[in-house]
C-alpha cells in the first residue's frame, strides 16, 4: 500500500511545477503599436518650445511627432522622483511621470520612442520637461498616459550612456538634463557626521530635498541635490575630493546635480 501511495503521489505531485519564463518579445510595458511617423529631436523640441521652457510655460503638442531617445537616469535610488532623464544625439530632457518604481522599465540605456502628440512640453524652473499640466504649469503625466505614449525598443544597453565632463559655464538651456561627471570636487558641509539629506531639520529643505554646495568648480552656482527619501539620503558626506556622476538639471540659474544611486559618488 505504501508503494501504491508513493506511486500515486509521485505521479501526481507538484501541481505548482517549474514555470517557464513568459515570452517577452513584445514588452508588456508601454504601447507596442507606436511607430516613428515623423521624427523629431530634443534640440528641435527645445528650440520649438524655447519660450515656454524659459518662462515657466507649457504647450500642448498637437503635431503627430515622435522622439527616439535613450534613458540616462531613473528612480533606482529614489533621488530622481517620478521622473526620468533622456538623451539623444542632440540634447537632453526630463520626462515627468506620476509613478514610482519606474526604473525596472525605464532602465538606464533603454531606447524608447515617445509619441509626443497630446503631451505637454514646458519648463519647470526653466528645465525642459515633457509631461502633463499640474497647477497651471508643466507637471507629471499619469502613468496610464505615459504607457500609451511610450514604446520600449530592444534591451537596455547601459554602455550607450556615457557621462560628459561637467562644465558650469555651459549654456544652461542647451545642456540642462545631461548625464555628467564632476571630477575632483568637494561637497560643502562635510564634518564626518553630517549626512547628505537629513530630515531632522539640520538643513533647510525644498520639496523634501537638501542642496549641498559643490566646491572646486569655476562657478559657484552648482549644488548636489538629494531627496530625504533617497536610498543614500543618510550617507555621511565624504570630506575629501570625490567624483560625482549625475543628471545636471537646472532650477532657474542654479545647476542641480541629481545622483541616481549611491554608486554615483566615488570617494578618492
Amino acid at each position: 500500500m505504501v508503494a501504491m501511495a508513493t506511486t500515486l503521489f509521485a505521479t501526481t505531485s507538484c501541481m505548482d511545477g517549474d514555470w517557464d519564463a513568459p515570452d517577452l518579445t513584445n514588452p508588456p510595458y508601454g504601447n507596442n503599436t507606436i511607430t516613428v511617423r515623423k521624427a523629431t529631436t530634443i534640440a528641435q523640441l527645445k528650440k520649438t518650445y524655447s519660450s515656454e521652457i524659459a518662462n515657466k510655460g507649457y504647450k500642448l503638442v498637437t503635431d503627430d511627432i515622435q522622439l527616439k531617445a535613450i534613458v540616462t537616469g531613473n528612480d533606482i535610488g529614489g533621488n530622481l522622483y517620478k521622473q526620468i532623464s533622456i538623451q539623444d544625439e542632440t540634447g537632453d530632457m526630463i520626462v515627468g511621470i506620476n509613478a514610482s518604481g519606474l526604473y525596472p522599465y525605464m532602465a538606464v540605456g533603454q531606447t524608447i520612442i515617445i509619441n509626443l502628440k497630446d503631451l505637454y512640453i514646458g519648463g519647470y524652473g526653466q528645465q525642459a520637461q515633457i509631461g502633463s499640466l499640474y497647477n497651471g504649469g508643466i507637471g507629471r503625466m499619469e502613468q496610464d498616459v505615459w504607457k500609451q505614449h511610450v514604446r520600449l525598443v530592444g534591451a537596455p544597453k547601459p554602455e550607450l550612456v556615457v557621462p560628459v565632463e561637467f562644465d558650469p559655464t555651459w549654456n544652461m538651456a542647451d545642456y540642462c538634463g545631461k548625464y555628467v561627471k564632476l571630477t575632483d570636487v568637494t561637497i560643502e558641509g562635510a564634518d564626518g557626521k553630517a549626512v547628505l539629506a537629513p530630515d531632522d531639520g539640520s538643513v533647510s529643505l525644498t520639496s523634501n530635498c537638501a542642496n549641498r554646495n559643490i566646491k572646486g568648480l569655476s562657478k559657484t552656482n552648482v549644488v548636489l541635490r538629494t531627496s530625504t527619501y533617497a536610498d543614500f539620503a543618510n550617507m555621511v558626506i565624504p570630506s575629501g575630493k570625490v567624483d560625482i556622476y549625475g543628471i545636471a538639471t537646472r532650477y532657474n540659474n542654479t545647476w542641480q546635480i541629481l545622483m541616481r544611486s549611491e554608486s554615483d559618488i566615488v570617494i578618492k
Binding site: M1, V2, M4, A5, L8, F9, T12, S13, C14, M15, D16, W19, D20, A21, P22, D23, L24, P27, P28, Y29, I76, G78, A99, S100, G101, Y103, P104, Y105, A107, V108, G109, Q110, E142, D144, A155, P156, K157, P158, D199, D200, T228, Y229, A230, D231, F232, A233, N234, M235, E262
Partner: protein, 847 residues
Amino acid sequence: MRKELKLVAVLLLLAPLCFAQQTNQDALKVMKSDQASFTFTESQLGEDDDVTQNVIMVNSNNNVYTSNIGYLFSPMRFKYRAYGSRYNDVYFNGVNVNNAENGQFNYSTVGGMNDATRGQESVSPYESNMFGVPNLGGASNYNFRASNYAAGSKATLSGCNRNYVARAMFTHATGLMKNGWAFMGTVGYRWGKEGFSEGTFYNSLGYFLSAQKVFNDNHSLSFATWGNPSERSQQGASTDEAYWLANDRYYNPYWGYQNGKKRNSRVVNNYEPTALITWDYKINDKASLTTSLLGRYVMYSSTKLNYNNANNPAPDYWKNFPSYQYNVWEPGSEDNTEDALAGWWNSYNYWTASKANRQINWDNLYFANQQLNAQGADAAYYIQAKHNDHLTMNLSSTFNFEINKQSKFVGGVQLGTNKGMHYQTMEDMLGAKYLRNINTYAVGTYPASDPRVQYDLNNPNAYVQEGDKFGYDYDLNVQNAKLWAKYEAEEEGVRAFLAGQIGGTQMWRTGHMRHGMAANNSYGDSQKAYFLDGGVKMGSTFSLGHGNSITLGLGLESRAPRANVAFVAPEINNDFVDDLKCEQILSAELGYALNTQWVRANLTGYYACSRKGNEWQNFYFDDVNSFTYVSLSDVAKDYYGVELGIQLKLTSNFRINLIGSMSDAKYVENTNVKYMLSTEGETKSDVCYNKDMRESGTPLTVGSIGLSYNVNGWWLDLKGNYYDRIYLSYSPNRRYGSTMVTNGDIDNAGNYIVPEQAQGEGGFMLDASIGRQFNIGRGQKLGVNLMLTNVLNNTDMVSGGYEQSRSDYTTNSDGTKNDVRTYKFSHNPKKYYAQGINGMLNVTYRF
C-alpha cells in the same frame, strides 16, 4: 472540471439503485461521523495557516451542545467559546502532540486519513478522562492501536466543490488476529485542479499504517506511522471594493496568468511524517501503564510574491483602486475634482475590462527583472518561501489505578522537546539574476553601504540564488516536562474528579545569521528562559434524580508563555520580551442537564479570565514606513457565555435539535505594547487601546434548529443555522496612543476616541444531508450520502478577515500628520466571505 464532477455525481447516485436496500443504524452513525471528520479535517482546519489557525475540535458524550457544535457551525469557522486552538489539547495514544512552540495542534497533520482518526475520546473542559488534565477548550485522545480498528476493507469515493473536487480513500484492517498481531492501513488522496476560489489548487496524499503485537494478557506493543504530503494554493482576503469590481465574493488576488495558465503566488507545501510507539502494560487487574514515544518532523513552507525597491505587485494594492482616485466616502471633499472623478472611472474601467487586469501580471514582473539584469541591479520581484519546520520528540507515561469500584487514580508524565526551524528561502527569481541578502526596508534610513542593512554580517552582500536562505534563519528551542495526576470518585449520586499538574519549560533562540541591527545579539544561542507552571482543576456532577443533574467545574492555572510570542523580534535578534510572565487563568462552568427518554437538554454558563497573557504579531506599519514586530504583554481577556442544547426525540425516527450560544470574548484592559521597527532595530513602547476588542473570526452568537428524520433506512438532516456578531481581527497600531494623537482621535475632554472594531455580516444558512447504507450481500455494504451546505446560497456572510494596518493619513518625518489620504483604510477591512451553496457526495464500499 465541473462537468466531470457532475458526471461522477450522477453515476454515484445511480449506483445504489442496483442493490438491495437494507439499513444499519450503526453504519449510519459512522457515515455521519465521516461528515464530521470531513468538515473538520479537510474543509476547515489548518487550511489558512497564514491567517489564524484557531479552530478547535471539541466533543463530549454527555452534553448535547458540545457534542453537536463540532461540525455544525464550521462553515462560518465557529470557535468553541472563542478560544484559540492552544486552549485545546490533542493526544495520540496518551502522548500530547500540541506543538510546544505555539501550543497549537495542526489538524491538517491528519488530513485525508479519516478512517484512522475516528477512534477518539473527546472531553469538554471539565470532564474526566484517562489521558490528562483537560485544557480550557477541552481535549481529545486518538487511539492509533491497530487492534482498535474493526477488521475489513473500505473504499470511499467523494466528489465536491470546495477546496478540492475529488477524494479517494482505501482502508484495510485485520483486527486482532489469533497470532496476536493486528494491522491497519489507510491511504487517501484529495485533488482539485481548481477549488471554489479561482486560481487555487489542491493536491494531498494522506497515509497511515499501524501494527500491533499483543504478546500476552499483560503486554502489547503498537507502532503507527503516518504523513500527509500536501501542496495547495491559497485564497487571499480582499476588500468589498475589490469584490464589487470583480463581481465575485471569492475574488482571489493571489493568482495571475502566466503563459495563459493560472499561477498562484501563495503555495503551501506541508509534510509531517510521524512515528509513534506505544507499550501497554497491564500490571494487574487494577493497574496499568501506557507509555508512548512520538517522533515527528514537520516540513512546512508557504510562498509569497515579494518586491524590492519597486511597486507592490498585488493587484488589489490600495493605489490600484478607484477609491484611491476619488473620495467615495466624502463625495463633497474638495479633493474630488473632475480629474479625480476621471481617475475613478479610469481605474474602474481597468478593473472591469478584463479578468487579467485584476490579477497578478506575471509578464510585467518577469520583464522588470529582465530589464534589471541588463543594469546589473537586484531583482525587483521574486517568490520567497517562509519555512516553519519542526523536529519533535514526545514521551508520555500514564499510570492507571482502580482503587475500588468507586474511585480511580490516574497520573502520568509528559516530556517533550521541540526544535522549530524558521527560515526564508528563495523559491523563484522570476528571471532575475541578482538579489543581495540585504534589508531593503532599512535602506534609506541607512545607506546601502552601512553594515546595519545586512541580514547576515557573516556573509555580507551575499548574492541569493534559488533555494538559498535569506532574510532570516533561526531556531526556537523548547523543552518541557509535566507531571499530572487525577483522582476520581463516585458516591450517592455525586461524581467528581480533582486533577493537578506541575511542569517546567525552558526555551531559547539560536540564530544562524548575524543581523546588521543586532551584530552582537543575533548569532548563536540566546539566554535561556525558564518557567514553572501548573494548575488544578475539578469537575463534578450532582444527580438530582428523575434525569436532572447539575454540573460544576473549576480551574486555576498558571501557564508558561509560548516561545512564538516570547521574543521581541525573533527574525532579528535574541531578545526576550521584557517582563515575560506566566499567563494566569481562572475558569468556571455551571450547568444543568436533563436526560429523559424523550428529551436531552443542557444549559451551561461559563466564565474564564486570562491575565498576564502575551501576544505577538508582525506587519507593515505605515506611519513609520517600516515593517514592525509587535509584542503585547500583560494581556487581560475575559471569556464568558451561555450555551443551550436540546435534543427532542419526538418519535422513534424523528428528532429535533435546538443548539445555541451567546458569548463574549474580549480584552478587558488596554495593553502595553512594545514594537521594533525593521528599519531601526530599536524597541518602542506605547499603549494599545484595545479594551473591548473582541476575538475575531468566529460568530459570538450562534443558533440552530436541526431536524433529523429516518425512514426506510434513509436518514435526512436539515439544519437552519444563524450566525451573528462576527468581528474582524483588529489592527493594534490604529489604536496606539501615539497613532490616535497623530490622527486627532481625542475628544474635548482629552479622551481617546478609539476606532470601533470592524465587523462582518452574519446571517442564516440552511444545510441539508441525506444518506443511506445498503447491504449488498456477503457482508458487503454500500453507503451513499450527500451533504449540501448553504442550500439557500447566502453569499453575504463573512467568515473572517482583518482590519488593514495602515492609516488614513500620511505623516511627516517627525511623525506628525501631513495629509489626509483619499483612500480610507479604515473603511476597507479585508474579508473572507463564506462559500455559497456547496456539496459533497460520498460513496463508501465496505467488503
